[in-house]
């Protein structure tokens, strides 16, 4: 579904991503881990259209995403949830969710179904639907950011550091939500530094170092692979 091939990207002449390739099937959850500065966020932003790659290809269902603006990439079915739970603070929770579905046009019915599903998973959002989003806690804002992406019903979801600034207690709720979401056929990429919580729901894992993919394996094998490297 999503194919990334030999991707190089960076700022100016400074390379950040070097020859990154991976692919993603419907319903699959891919964990991308790695040190800070390894290029994970740059990779997400490049796929999302915020950074233009210097070479390589990104295709979604065979259609190239390179050169497309971020807002148009969303329309093609790829939704990036930025790190740091970026929602619109000065409007209500419900309006935030409404805006998530903006580019889907007039499919009223499916939007309402999606909202209902979201409120079942995160009842706190329904309870606070009329509150300003700025009054939510960090964790609730992350839920809202995911809700906003959910109602867009993308084919591919990219999730950059969903745990950033979040209490550890909330992690399982969020990860389970992503798991259930993926089961409906959506391909999900989770970028995380805290591997443990995300590993429990992932199918495959990639570790990036210095802009390159150094490990790619089934999620279950990752801890072993990492341990091997430490002992080696």
């Amino acid at each position: 579904m999503l194919e990334v091939r030999n991707l190089h990207a960076g700022y100016g002449r400074m390379p950040v991503l070097r020859d990154v390739s991976f692919s993603l099937k419907p319903g699959e959850i891919l964990l991308i881990g790695g040190e800070n500065g390894a290029g994970k966020s740059t990779l997400m932003r490049t796929i999302g259209g915020f950074i233009t790659p210097t070479s390589g290809s990104i295709t979604l269902d065979g259609k190239s995403l390179i050169g497309e603006a971020p807002e148009d990439i969303v329309r093609l079915g790829l939704r990036l949830v930025l790190d740091g739970h970026r929602i619109f603070p000065e409007m209500s929770v419900y309006d935030n969710i409404r805006l998530g579905a903006v580019m889907r046009g007039k499919e009223r019915g499916s939007f309402e179904a999606a909202v209902k599903a979201i409120f079942e998973v995160f009842p706190i959002l329904e309870e606070k639907r009329r509150d300003y989003a700025r009054d939510l806690s960090g964790g609730q804002q992350q839920m809202l950011a995911l809700a906003q992406a959910f109602v867009a019903q993308p084919k591919v979801l990219l999730c950059d550091e969903p745990s950033m600034g979040l209490a550890q207690l909330l992690m399982p709720t969020i990860m389970n939500f992503l798991k259930v979401w993926a089961e409906s056929g959506t391909a999900v990429v989770i970028v995380e530094q805290h591997l443990d919580a995300a590993l429990t729901v992932s199918h495959r894992a990639i570790i990036m170092e210095r802009g390159q993919v150094t490990i790619e394996c089934p999620a279950g094998d990752l801890q072993n692979r990492l341990a091997q490297r430490v002992s080696a």
């Binding site: 930025l82 619109f88 998530g100 906003q148």
Partner: protein, 293 residues
């Protein structure tokens, strides 16, 4: 005395409505892009020029109603083009202040263009409506019309921002542009639309207010100044603030003109601006408008 007071009040209210309309037109652009259009006053004056050209003297009532949307759309189209130019360099600049220069430059160019084609003298436009009497004094109708126009635009904008998805999307951009793009909002298109809406507001104002407006090459900035003060006093981004602060400012300006003379009117406006920014930088209704220290 009460008769003088009535003149001051009614005319101040009318003049203040123009300030409030300008403030609202500032707000719609500002909230979508953080841009404060320095050329807004020139577009108001262009609305006045449009009235001068499109209307006979004395104007015919039917023509007035036909030409109102024509003038409004012309100004809105020009302002959209101006908006397009202003937004152009914002894509890849490291500093996001280029708009201060481009809108100021356009303001100078419009002023210069009017000076070259129209000369330095003010145009006069006759009112299509009969003047009305307040406490026995004849008051030009546009003062009342401006007040009505202010209320109408206020209600429409309120509905637009709260109820329509497009209006909400424009607010979203002002809050987090990157997140808005990630959510699939077509940012550039929405910002352009905001410029167009501000053009509709300011163009209709220029046309309606034409008989009481100073329609000359160099009056643009005076209106920008007063519109900005109304926006700041009301609280940047708050249209409710604007419709209260505008008339208030208009009345004070009228009192100042009456008491100390017209040449001090801008000085008094400046004084109000400084006082508000010193003691209540967020304005009357603003939450966090002015970047406070």
């Amino acid at each position: 005395m009460s008769y003088e007071l009535a003149i001051i009040l009614v005319r101040g209210l009318g003049l203040g409505s123009i300030f409030a309309l300008l403030a609202m037109s500032f707000n719609v652009v500002h909230s979508s892009s953080g841009i404060l259009n320095f050329a807004q006053g020139n577009f108001l004056v262009l609305g006045g020029f449009a009235a001068a050209f499109l209307l006979a003297s004395p104007p015919d009532m039917a023509m007035w109603w036909i030409m109102l949307p024509v003038a409004t759309i012309i100004v809105a189209a020009l302002l959209s083009f101006h908006g397009w130019i202003t937004l152009l360099p914002l894509r890849n600049s490291t500093e996001q202040d280029s708009w201060m220069i481009s809108t100021m430059a356009v303001s100078i160019m419009i002023g210069a263009g009017l000076l070259i084609t129209q000369g330095p003298f003010a145009q006069t436009v006759q009112s299509a409506f009969a003047s009305f009497r307040v406490m026995g004094t004849r008051t030009p109708a546009p003062y009342a019309l401006c007040f009505v126009l202010m209320i109408a635009w206020f209600l429409w904008l309120k509905w637009f921002h709260a109820r329509t998805l497009t209006g909400l999307a424009i607010s979203a951009i002002s809050q987090d542009m990157e997140a808005a793009r990630a959510a699939g909002l077509r940012v550039r298109r929405l910002q352009l639309l905001a410029f167009t809406i501000s053009g509709l507001v300011v163009g209709s104002t220029g046309f309606v207010a034409a008989p009481v407006l100073s329609i000359s090459a160099d009056s643009g900035f005076r209106y920008v100044l007063n519109g900005f003060i109304a926006a700041v006093v009301g609280g940047m981004g708050s249209n409710t603030g604007a419709v209260i602060a505008g008339p208030l400012l208009g009345i004070i300006a009228m009192v100042a003109t009456y008491q100390v003379g017209g040449e001090y009117q801008n000085f008094v406006s400046l004084l109000i601006l400084v006082l508000i920014l010193m003691f209540r930088p967020q304005g009357l209704f603003g939450r966090t408008a002015a970047r406070r220290v």
